[in-house]
Amino acid sequence: MLGYIPALPFFGFLVLSLGGRFLPRKAVAIIGAGTVVLAALLTMVFGIRWLNDPPVQGAYQQLLWNWFTIGDLSVAVRLRVDALTLVFVFIITFVGALIHIYSTAYMKHDRDYARFFACMNLFVGAMLLLVMADNLVLLYLGWEGVGLCSYLLIGFWYETPANCNAANKAFLVTRIGDTAMLIGLFLLYQKLGTFDIQSILLRSPRQFVAGAHDITLIALLLLAGGMGKSAQIPLQTWLPDAMAGPSPVSALIHAATMVTAGVYLIARMHVLFLLSPQTMAVTALIGGITLFAGGCSAMVQTDIKRVLAYSTISQIGYMFLALGLGAWGAAIFHFFTHAFFKALLFLAAGAVIESLHHEQDIFRMGGLRKRLPLVFYSFVAGAAALAALPFISAGFYSKDPILWYAYSARGGNVLLYLLSLAGAGLTAFYSTRLVLVVFGGVERTPVFEKPARAMNLPLVILAVLAVTVGFIEWPHNLLRLDLFSGFLEGVLPAPVLKGGLPSEGLFQFIAAAVTLLGIYAGYVLYRGRKEVLQKWQRSASIRAVRLFFLSGWGFDILYRTLFVRPFLFVSGIGKPDWLDWLNKGIARVSLALSSLLSVSQNGSLRWYIAGVLIGVLFIITLQLVL
């Protein structure tokens, strides 16, 4: 029965890609969204069964078929769902189902309706395969599959060259990470001789010495793979440009699921990472830098989707920070809540963009609070969760533990704590900025049409969840309720804390204070005294800083100078095709000879007779001489 969960979206993909052109729109919508909804229902059935009667080994397994056998290596298509996988499967199918329902209305006017749902279904199927895989080869298949679908969906409106460039950029940058991960997988196989995840996790502590070079290399390579897919520095440049795809794509792929594949990988292979403390430190540092840089960039963007893209980069930085500190459960919980509120924000942004007829510049929006009330309230719920508004938003319950662990975990230190704290303040600031600029103030672009009901329903559901879903996991000093980490207990170990720590409550108070300070700052600058902003706009140094943040800390320019320009230069050298000179030379020589000999073809009869005569003379002379 387990196999039906990924099989349903794959079936939907097959039907829609082969025959979607011939089906009516309604049928396409029913098949496209219906398969994912069915998969979500099936997941919920499994989940309820699990909660009532947890399985003995801590996982459901199902062998589908034997994929290939080469010598000693035998790889099978076997699905294994344990607690971690179940969380991911639930998010993928549930949030995916809501987004598919939303897209039936959002993409209604599009010419390529069936192709959209085919690609989305393929993506859901591949992502499910990724998280349900029992062995690393199957996981890599899903990994590549989601990369492919990301490319297909970013460049969905392929007639615009900019979209194709964005899709290429996404694919190429993630490919760098994928290659590193593949090398890591090869090294792992070389050392352990198997691809099966459970046996790898069991045998690694005996095989490897903690902190040795080989395990550190493997862990770093896997980390690189995760960095590529999850858009962490230095492989983060593709995500802002990936906003060229439709909003449901951004919601599903670049907020909730694909970019969290790296988080899943690291959490799944946590044994390897625990064996290499250097890699954990690198992970935490990367997470810390990314969340800060993402936050800085998000607060100066003018395109609504780019703000959310940099925000995603920043939030996944929090997840990586938590992973690097050994707080696996906290990272997964933050993923859980982030999926809900980020998908909500993207869907609401899509609703706004559609209503204003494809206006994406936030400074041309405004005054939408009265015109689109439902969108406004759901957006506020999502933004509050993003900013981690104390107590009444899910983000608070997931982000605060990470801040606490940034200081208190064994790998934590003051620098990481300060970075994450600053990041929290920035997040609150830009969330407030976004809400105020888009929905408050004077209306600059009129609302052309209100969103359809199919678009409103997922917004409402996600808004409710964004507020309430945090309540399943409270901090220990406030309430003894940790349903989530209890659920994951068998799979992920608890974080190790340093000794002699101050009370957790102090840190929570500081975090809440910083959040409120950020919200207040946003309110003051964008609603209260706007003249401060105008003064800043005139200052040249602030404008320079703003440009720096706007370009995502200059990574695009850096990569263009370091890699793109030299590559183009070298390929330009080869453009005249030097290696072809032999062929061209032969052709040129024969042409020259031919033009030489064609002089003898002058059409004059007497020359021809003379030619015959000279030939005969030559032959007879040979006869006489030899």
Binding site: G603, S604, L605, R606
Partner: protein
């Protein structure tokens, strides 16, 4: 009566042939070129007859008959072509008919 040397006749035939060849190379008028071709054909016929006479076989004369018939057919078609050339290009100069060049 000294018999004729076999090679003597062939030398005569060779001389006639070479005369015809020289004329074909030299002349520009088509009529004269055709005349030269006739001379060459005649010379080769003489060679055949001489060979047949040496061995007392009629085969040489048979060959000459064939050459004769072929020359007749060739000259009739050739002269008809000369007529057409004259009507179209108004000249009998072979150097003006160079359109088949490269």
């Amino acid at each position: 009566m000294t018999p004729i040397g076999a090679n003597t006749v062939l030398v005569v035939a060779a001389a006639l042939f070479v005369l015809g060849l020289a004329a074909a190379l030299t002349r520009k008028n088509i009529i004269f070129i055709l005349i030269a071709v006739e001379v060459m054909l005649n010379a080769s016929g003489l060679a055949f007859v001489a060979a047949g006479a040496k061995w007392h076989q009629p085969d040489g004369q048979v060959m000459f008959l064939f050459i004769l018939a072929m020359a007749a057919a060739e000259i009739s078609v050739g002269l008809a072509l000369v007529l057409q050339i004259y009507h179209q290009h108004k000249t009998l100069d072979v150097e003006d008919l160079k359109e088949l060049s490269d």
